[in-house]
Symmetry: C2
């Protein structure tokens, strides 16, 4: 946990942004994998971590704005708990650590919420992302499961986004740690990569390192020779010489800040000429995109810049033809770059995604475009100092998608399908780093970056 | 997956055991860690795996007994799914693999269940262990969330237990694999163990190995210098010379069969004399307990035998006094051995625990004892050929528990509290292997066992 003062101040600021009613923070519960007591690694809700900081299951916090009163709900351990899970701090000690005096048994949260809700007061809560949330809201407030998400408090969402978007110095420190562990994981990946190994064999080493460093993976490991598939998980598939392995892995620190880096390396340690050319094209786009990051610029404009550079590059390969600006305006780039250039990152790898992309990545005067490609851009708004974001351009040759577009003869003024056919099984490349927006520009996070140029990557793979 | 024939036969046998109505198998869903699309590693429900075998989320199977009809509910991928997660088999191909012809869209399961349920037919379902199950039962059948567990079908539970308890040859083969990977994890643990490392540092290596081998941990890693705490997870705590580290880790194979082994090793590679004596006492109990395993014997009798040997051994340390049989009858051993000697193991590390211990580990004529210590024995019934179980005696000096008993002067005719005080911070030891009950006796699972004697363990730690 950070110091008590940090949590107290955060809650105070939050209170000042909400007019009236009660704020409900539902701590997360343990989730049984295959039976109740064989639970997944516990992951606390990120907003609960941000405002309360207690990393334990079965807790709730209610902030009564109108009466300026905070209450922490949770149970002390029984002797049976101590036998099975060891002695732990008492609830009142946890209260002290987070700066809340009023501590009550967990179940008391129900009557307090019910009586407030029934008397017409507003209970502000966040949109559910686990069925446990839906069930609590249903049982506590009588909200039908289907509409729980709609009843979430936009006022609370906006208030939280207006705070969590701007990282505090101690948060940035944790995020540097997350990047540094992630960098180690990528170095391990590059050193371990060999023809004959399975994707999971190498991914396991990186996952183990995240645990050894006191945390876990920030998201399921993408380590794959099918790099064209955006969110494929590592499989029990043997990697072959001549293939590239795309590795998108990041550590979550013990404090639950996420790292998120991607590198794409040749399985046998040596890029082919074509791979090298494609790789350098993406690397140049990534460097230009990072370079463009500064306060005030719309991130969707940097995304568009990347799309334009990609089309320009693909023209060099004979895949794209015609006017590049026109091709971009027609979204020709989305055949090769179906996802977004990047996203906010913090306590969540897609920071605050559960609060709603329209509030986190966009603003009312610049809403999200919902057409293919653009709809997957999670961040479009103007960058501001204190934002931490990823910059991750890529190229993805997806055979099914290419076949679909070709069969429709889609954008054939710009796309040379005959030439493209030769690249259909090329796979995918992505290069990703994390960037902090500063007052004057940006800073790449991490004390060290994993090898990124062709020369650097081929060198480390020789080890 | 196993062959189609296996799943078809299993469902046929299951059908023959249920008189009438519909059997509902709810496949598991993805669970968001910190937001919807950042999900935990998907874990299919074990009974779904056993009877259907398809290891994917968002599926359901309904077996209509009265009309002898099986239906698989699930959706084919959209182009968006393919872009993000890659091409996958169509639902009809999955149907072929598991031997079900009738395939329908996922949402159609609702009307089919509702119309059956409303017309008074029985819908047999298993007890929920995730809120997603409760919510489905509530939304599909209108069952209030609080009573879903009570409405589970005892007939279905008993039928499943009568099948899953007896492992088939191809299951035993998978379980040997799970043990073999777990053995490698334990060897890695012993080789990596050093003063100055954290618990998580070493646990991470073992966890990584489980992933590299194509699976994952079968349960959260217990790797701790606080071995007296039964289910404590590995922590960010530095291990010291003189301490012992208890390592209870097991791999789940790609087919989801669990391994579960425990070893307790000195952090600096050398047992002290006292540690060696205590260790050998537990080792002798474990060897005797394994030796006692054969068809017909009540497992609770082997548990009692272990308790008796433990009391006898502790008499040698001056901790126990008086008549051993009387001390055992008075449950004096439960101060040191608060848990059970072992449990069924298979697709779940505590096999079928979600179906209810009273049906899995006990029988109506020999129900579970609910007093302290005995209530944690998950398996009491007579062993039968085909059962796979763990044998895991241990000794646990839990300071809080000792202080509590001492303050009550509990069983002071048998417990020498003054002497016990000297051992209060000794910690804990557990030794665990997996055993298959055969026609004539038993066989320890695994092609190789991790080092187990003091000499073997000290030898591998020198590497």
């Amino acid at each position: 946990m950070f110091s008590t003062e940090i949590y107290r101040q955060r809650r105070e600021r939050l209170q000042s942004k909400i007019k009236s009613g009660l704020i409900l923070f539902m701590g997360n519960e343990e989730v049984g994998m295959n039976f109740l007591h064989n639970a997944y690694k516990f992951r606390q809700d990120s907003s609960f971590l941000y405002y309360v900081g207690i990393d334990l299951p079965h807790l709730g916090v209610v902030i009564d704005i109108d009466n300026n009163k905070e209450t922490l709900f949770g149970n002390d351990l029984t002797i049976d708990d101590i036998v099975w899970t060891g002695p732990k701090d008492a609830m009142k000690d946890w209260g002290t650590k987070t700066g809340i005096q009023d501590i009550r048994k967990y179940d008391e949260i129900i009557s307090i919420l019910q009586s407030a809700y029934r008397s017409g007061r507003t209970v502000h809560f966040l949109p559910p992302y686990r069925e446990e949330h839906t069930l609590k809201l249903h049982e506590w407030l009588g909200i039908p499961p289907q509409v729980c998400a709609d009843k979430a408090s936009v006022e609370l969402i906006k208030a939280i986004v207006s705070m969590r978007s701007y990282k505090q110095p101690e948060e940035i420190e944790e995020m540097e740690k997350a990047v540094d562990i992630s960098t180690e994981m990528h170095e391990l990946f590059m050193k371990a990569l060999r023809p004959g190994k399975t994707e999971l064999e190498v991914a396991g080493l990186a996952e183990g390192l995240a645990v050894s460093a006191g945390g876990q993976l920030a998201y399921p490991a993408i380590l794959t020779v099918s790099g064209e598939t955006l969110h494929i998980h590592a499989r029990n598939i043997i990697m072959q010489s001549g293939q590239m392995a795309l590795c998108d892995i990041g550590a979550e620190t013990g404090m639950h800040y996420a790292g998120d880096l991607t590198r794409t390396a040749p399985v046998n340690g040596k890029f082919t000429n074509l791979q090298k050319d494609m790789y350098n094209m993406i690397l140049n786009i990534q460097l230009a995109a990072i370079d463009a990051c500064h306060p005030g610029i719309l991130y969707k404009d940097i995304h568009a810049l990347s799309g334009e550079m990609l089309l320009e590059g693909l023209k060099g390969f004979g895949i794209i033809k015609g006017d590049i600006k026109e091709a971009l305006a027609a979204d020709a780039h989305t055949l090769f770059f179906q996802c977004g250039l990047g996203h906010m990152i913090g306590l969540d790898v897609h920071d605050m995604e559960n609060l709603g992309e329209q509030y986190v990545g966009y603003t009312e005067d610049a809403p999200k475009k919902m057409n293919f490609g653009w709809k997957s851009l999670r961040l479009g708004r103007a960058l501001e100092p204190g934002f931490t974001i990823t910059v991750e351009p890529g190229i993805y040759f997806i055979p099914t998608l290419i076949d679909m577009w070709r069969s429709e003869n889609k954008l054939s003024d710009f796309i040379n399908y005959a030439e493209l056919e030769k690249f259909k099984n090329f796979g995918g490349i992505r290069i990703e780093d994390e960037v902090l927006i500063t007052e004057n520009g940006h800073r790449i996070l991490g004390n060290k970056m994993p090898p990124k140029t062709v020369a650097e990557m081929e060198a480390i793979q020789q080890h």
